[in-house]
Symmetry: C2
Subunit: 694 residues, 2 copies
Amino acid sequence: MNTLDTLFNPKAVAVIGASSKPLSIGNRVIKNLIDFGYRGKIYPINPKTDEIHGLKAYRSILEVPTGVDVVHMVIPARFVPDAVDDCGKKGVRHIIINSGGFAEVGPAGQAIENDFLARAAKYGIRILGPNCQGIINTDPDVRVYCNFTYTRPETGHISLVALSGGVAEVIHQGFVTLGVGTRIYASNGNACDIGIPELIRYLGQDEKTRVIVTYVEGLREPAEFMAACKEVATCKPVLAMKAGRTAQGAQAAASHTGGLAREDLATDLIFKKTGVLGFNDVGELVQAAAAFATQPVPHGNRLGIITNTGGPAVIATDILAEAGMELPPLSDTAKAFLKERLFPEASIHNPVDVLATGKAEHYRAALDAMMNDDNFDAVLVHFVTPFFVDCNAVASEIVAVSQQGRKPLICNFMTDRKQWSDTAQILETGGVVCFDLPDQAARAMAALVRYQSLQQRKVGHVQSFGPATRHSAASILEAVHQEGRSLLSAAEAYAVLDAYGIPTPTWRVVNCIEDAIQAAETIGYPVVIKADAPDIVHKSDLGAVALDLTDATAVRIAIEQMVARLNVGDVRYLVQKYVPGGLEVIMGAKAEPGLGHAILFGMGGVYVEVLKDVVFNLAPVTDVEAREMVAGLKLSPLLQGVRGQKGVARDKLADMIQRLSQLVCELPTIKELDLNPILAFENDIRVADVRIII
Amino acid sequence: MNTLDTLFNPKAVAVIGASSKPLSIGNRVIKNLIDFGYRGKIYPINPKTDEIHGLKAYRSILEVPTGVDVVHMVIPARFVPDAVDDCGKKGVRHIIINSGGFAEVGPAGQAIENDFLARAAKYGIRILGPNCQGIINTDPDVRVYCNFTYTRPETGHISLVALSGGVAEVIHQGFVTLGVGTRIYASNGNACDIGIPELIRYLGQDEKTRVIVTYVEGLREPAEFMAACKEVATCKPVLAMKAGRTAQGAQAAASHTGGLAREDLATDLIFKKTGVLGFNDVGELVQAAAAFATQPVPHGNRLGIITNTGGPAVIATDILAEAGMELPPLSDTAKAFLKERLFPEASIHNPVDVLATGKAEHYRAALDAMMNDDNFDAVLVHFVTPFFVDCNAVASEIVAVSQQGRKPLICNFMTDRKQWSDTAQILETGGVVCFDLPDQAARAMAALVRYQSLQQRKVGHVQSFGPATRHSAASILEAVHQEGRSLLSAAEAYAVLDAYGIPTPTWRVVNCIEDAIQAAETIGYPVVIKADAPDIVHKSDLGAVALDLTDATAVRIAIEQMVARLNVGDVRYLVQKYVPGGLEVIMGAKAEPGLGHAILFGMGGVYVEVLKDVVFNLAPVTDVEAREMVAGLKLSPLLQGVRGQKGVARDKLADMIQRLSQLVCELPTIKELDLNPILAFENDIRVADVRIII
């Protein structure tokens, strides 16, 4: 049995800090448990009162007559550690700590948090919180509401977990407003013990949870989160919204969580890599969750639309087309079927327009036609309620077809819900997910298809490029570290690339002009000379680079000028084959705290600045992901070749991305690595400059 | 008095086709007039019944005892012309025709439409429709509901006009759901007489209309629409949604309106040029309209946020930042003010977080601080309802500050509206516009600011480049037309450009090799030679262009090869200065039916294909618009110069755009004009190739 089972299915809950004051949290939690119809025993703990909301209150948890599965604490922080001890003695398994005043307020609070955590560990108690809302489980056999908030969910199939109770509740209330039920709700605040990844894993195994929703403002445990989502998202949709995606938003998030504002690239990459569906809009997230909770996932992206009024179908079509969905025509069989059954003026193209005067049998015919037609993977129904049509009958047909469960069916139900409350009721109790606006219905449908394509996508394999060369590269980095440096010299950096088979122009490192000339003769003219000293970072700014040197004299003059210009000690020179022309691209890697490295690929030259034409992924990058990166730039068609121009060696770019990925995975002390530019030709690619920081 | 005043403020309405059958339109219109509390007289017209809904029915409009301002017709199309005659005899001013079966069904219906239009014109009767819903006016002194639909609007300040009743009603119902009132509603279907532009002009002058909302799927009368919006949108916000923006959406729109699917560039350009606020999402449009109906337009884009829970403020911040709004810090005065008044743990940065325990006085302090602080142009309030706070008191303070009307104030009210119905009621009756989600509130606020910046923007002036050269260019086009050609020869096209001072490389047209050599000597080497014959369209494909010819021999060989290769009669040769290098850009003009020309500017070369890096505007293009076009490309930074590279002569590009605009305005027979490529240098620009089709 999962250790969280008891937390979400407690047979007895005690509230330490239960209060008889009506507007206190300690009172509200008791009231919520009662009002929500909790099936287990409720024990208010309060040394100063005998009874709260008609329940006998106990002076201490130790006086409670039965076992207690979950304790809900609503007491000042300083009293929590001793209360945890009492719970341990009582054999309590889980504690939810509503109270604030812990890690979020600074070192003093952190000390109290560490204290109670150590005591809890001694007894094997798991903690949710502190500084959190708590949990809800709508299971009719449980109906536990250990939470001080107000949302009153119906029983359903969406589970919702988030650190931030504020947004979690907004989302949760959205489900209620939309008339779609919840399975489990958990908001864990500081998450000092039970974290979001553990909750997601638990919900992944929970049969009654069909879809998991979460909200993040930046991840506490990115690697754990990634592992949990990777495990869960392939078998169950995980929908996530991330806020703080702008600099200003990140600043606002940092200000309310007490963290540091920083660009959070990792979260989006984790979503992408693990198949989590990301959302930027609360409403869209809520609506998509409702669709997943009630509808099967479609087998493809080919959509049929039925309507009784033209405009809303046009609006939906725009959104679906932009989301990459196809709107194929009906099969000839389906057309013939509808030609016999619809009004002569009805449109039997896709969208099918049964007309405002279309009756229940017309809707049914259109629904049947699309459900039977292999041209369609899913059906979107628009239904405005004309007063001269039996709308309840239409609704009943939509319900009947929806309940066949053959293909996903989403309804845009455009009406005054007060006047057509019966019709709305038929659709809702029939399990048809209804939205008010064509845009909403279309976006919810697009989310179903997006998940389908994420499930179907080929993830590919992480290639390992042998022979094992880690040792030579690792020893270079170790030596740099020993010397107290962070920036590798050019020679060191090129040697690291060589060790991983990343193609560079032939190079030698020399100490003087004569050796440089000899090296140039061996390599073959033209050559590049780069002064290579620890003090020189921006080589071209300092005049430490000379390009396209075609003979010994040119090499001599170039080095003499550098000596005169640079005036730094301990200079060596990198002599390298000069490779003219080629399309400039860039690659890079950047350490992401707690998560390994992000890998970057982009267009080089001015396009990096002007277009920011770059894509990212997380190491290890698979073969499929590397090819997607090469194909994923705005200017990727240039790599393929346009207007009769030949493209560049894209397979070699994908290969280099994977080698770079393996390199940083095996050399985790690398903080930043830039290959800029890489010169790409029709049959070859070469790294023209490299910078590595450990 | 405006001619539409009587339509929207009738003292008596007759319904021809009134019916006693409950589920008929002729019955519903009577019922809607009664239910909505119409203040005027209602005359059901039906030869076969004496009474409908308790009202005396008349056999004919001619038997009605008083004057009739508006007749609502719900009779089959074939009876309409005679009924119009009767109305004329009766002195009726306006007829609303619900019935379909006219132009929208084809030539036979068109003939009936023409018939009744001619009769109406004879009597000076204005027609709304046919094939339309009708009108609503919520004015308490009028309350006319000549419409068969179901939406029951409150009295308010939003007016809504659209051809398509389906979407108009969805939008209208959105206002009701949001609790915001309507002023006038009009859906005019086929719009055979009273069109959307006339309605917009009327509403522009209607004092009780604060904001005009419309929905289009492509414009019937683009020039009229543009003129009306230009007049109205500067003094009153016009919010518009266009559907059919994707190819698939345009196809769906064509299928339900019976029109042709075509790319509709013009509508978006008209929105932009006239200052209409465009929307792609019905919900966002509805929410923005609610904001405009209740709030003043802000003076700038600097926003203050107040919240009692962190996450929603982060979500709103993301959206506002993406919309280009600023979130400045509070002034020192405001900070000091709040430091004294808020809880010590409250955040007095922007967003100000009064904390979940924040009370009415804390909200009031934060509101006052931001209203008094010159750092802010508008305030967004997030308000989640903790049960341990007096939420009604908080709502009352928000209302009090909102009613001061000093700066726009929008509220994201996050709650269960059933449990907090009192609080919701306080906010609603207090005129505070409330949304359920942070995203919605933020987008509505962004719309207010977007209108402000549209109002503030400099439109600029249409420059006229003299001396008047129209005649020489016009006579060239006339000659081409006389010859039955549509494509201008290179010589003709360059002459047209010369006439408008559009810089081209020096050119001559010659008939033979010897003349070509002489021309080349005069122009100066290197030169380009282009074979110029009506049959040759794609010159470079046919080997009809020779570049970079540096002497007489090269000219001779080039022409000899062309003669051998082309084998077409009547060839002349364009000899032109060869201009190497330069950054390639393109310009173009395309006739938009009923609207003049769209002008295009973009990056040339492969970037046109790969990035589609082009911007459009409508001729006549002003100086300001031309500069905006030059600055509006994704790659515009390349024109300015990046990484120490020099930019190109952007002022000359803006000048050329305006000359091109003047050219097509004065030569309206031009269908397409392409300047591709134009070579741009640091101090000069030159058109390297031109194609003109009339």
